[in-house]
């Protein structure tokens, strides 16, 4: 099983990605889609990344998951560039014979992605302000759950 890792400007379709994971003998597909929330007057979000490192970082997280759980397929897609409220940012999909493996692997990948993949979010607001999103302490705590 080779994880399918994509870092792209283009939009993606979670339905298409989930269907692709419905491989022979897969009994369970778990997915996560992260979206831009339009709260607090947010007008746009720009995702910056470290191109030479990003795909390797995602691949490492995905391979770590593949070593911990029995998976038939694993897809990680992360958009970069400018997005607006309602746009999809990130997708993680995992397929397995059993539900526990698929759900835990998906959960693990999104938790680790939050702390171990070189992406940075800049928010632009309707009133013209803009600022870099601060890392959340809770993301570190959440990741440590998997240690």
């Amino acid at each position: 099983m080779t994880p399918d890792i994509r870092v792209q400007h283009e939009a993606f379709d979670p339905g298409v990605e989930c269907a692709r994971l419905e491989i022979d003998n897969v009994g369970a597909v778990a997915s996560f889609t992260g979206l831009v929330r339009g709260e607090g007057g947010l007008a746009a979000l720009t995702l910056e990344h470290y191109p030479a490192m990003t795909e390797d970082a995602l691949r490492r997280i995905a391979e770590d998951a593949a070593g911990r759980w029995s998976l038939a397929g694993l897809t990680v897609i992360h958009r970069v560039g400018r997005m607006t409220p309602g746009d999809r940012i990130v997708f993680v999909g995992a397929a397995s014979r059993h539900r526990g493996d698929a759900i835990d692997a998906m959960h693990f990948v999104i938790d680790w992605l939050k702390t171990d993949a070189p992406f940075w979010k800049r928010e632009e607001f309707a009133d013209g302000r803009s600022s870099w999103v601060e890392a959340r302490e809770g993301d570190i705590t959440q990741k440590k759950r998997w240690a």
């Binding site: 470290y50 390797d56 992360h78 990130v90 171990d116 940075w120 870099w132 999103v133």
Partner: protein, 85 residues
């Protein structure tokens, strides 16, 4: 020794460029020393590195600590904690 530096997010904005190639002085052996040396330049550099608890590093495209050695290193990236996903 020449080394490529890359800056991301507000580090990049404070410094005003996304990277540069520098010749390291002999005494600069670790990432922390590199940052001290850069911060001495003043202006945006000083501002970018004023709070090192909010600074993260990758050495040759691997996350590393501020104590990482620069021996044989080709690329150092300096950035805030990541916020993707």
């Amino acid at each position: 020794m020449a080394i490529d530096l890359l800056y991301f997010a507000w580090i990049r904005e404070a410094i005003g460029r996304d990277g540069e190639t520098v010749d390291l002085p002999d005494g600069v052996k670790t990432v922390a020393m590199l940052i001290d040396w850069l911060a001495e330049r003043g202006g945006g550099y000083t501002e970018a590195f004023v709070d090192r608890s909010r600074l993260r590093v990758a050495v040759d495209q691997e996350f590393a600590g501020l104590d990482a050695s620069l021996a044989g290193v080709r690329e150092i990236a300096l950035f805030p904690p990541v916020t993707g996903g």
